[in-house]
Amino acid sequence: MGLSDNFQAFEDAVKDGLSALATGTLKSAAADIRSDVEAFLEASAEDLKRRGDLLAQGDLTREEFEFLLKSQADNARMIALSQRGISKARIGQFKRSLTTLVLRAAFAAIGI
């Protein structure tokens, strides 16, 4: 099963994870991260689907998939920096949250 076949379940799992993230996090920070991750998912859907399928087919390893996910997160940070007004703390937290939530949901959706 590829990620593109199961992308809705993947997206739902990431969003459920975002809700759980509010626990133990400042409410305003959680709202920022939620909106950052949702924007990321929307902008990166095609790349995530393609890479998830490559992972499922064995053309990418889990480690390579994770590296590429972090590359995407770094590129999201690059864009945020170009638009200014975003704190280093916020973009750091974004990458950590994104990696945890998306990897867990992607591996579950693919069944590996």
Binding site: E64, F67, D74, N75, I79, L81, S82
Partner: protein
């Protein structure tokens, strides 16, 4: 003396004005920085496309690109108010990160990079350079830099 006293507050106002003006002044646009980033992007992509071959065969070129990218990062850090570009160079060159520096480090560690990974990561590195170039160019046009098109 009378003149100095009567003009006393003016230097203070002038200094305040200059400080406030400096706060609002964007860092200067650099055509040389755009040129260097454009060349480094092309060289980096050309190099990474050969990452199916053992790293030692390309170690000299990898070192040259890393050195030039680090020099650009240092130059960016010396420009007041240029924090965004400085941080973007840091992300691109960081060997513990996941863009150019991290990919070169991975290639060196693993010897070669798989075709699937190589094809995907080249797009990410290219997009990172595009964003940095766009940020630099946006200084000139006094506009914001939206996500560059065609990253992957």
């Amino acid at each position: 003396m009378t003149y100095l006293l009567s003009c006393g507050p003016r230097p203070a106002f002038l200094a305040l004005f200059l400080v406030l003006a400096a706060c609002d002044t964007p860092p200067p646009y650099s055509e040389a920085a755009v040129q260097a980033a454009t060349e480094l992007k092309a060289d980096s992509i050309a190099l990474l496309q050969q990452a199916n071959e053992p790293f030692p065969s390309h170690a000299d070129e990898a070192a040259r690109i890393s050195t030039e990218a680090s020099a650009e990062a240092l130059a960016a850090s010396r420009i007041p108010g240029n924090g965004a570009v400085e941080e973007q160079w840091r992300l691109i060159t960081d060997p513990d990160g996941n863009l150019l520096g991290g990919t070169l480090a991975r290639w060196e560690t693993q010897g070669t990079l798989s075709r699937g990974f190589r094809d995907e990561v080249v797009g990410e590195v290219a997009q990172a350079f595009d964003t940095l170039i766009c940020t630099e160019q946006a200084k000139q046009a006094a506009r914001s830099c939206a996500a560059p098109a065609g990253g992957n």
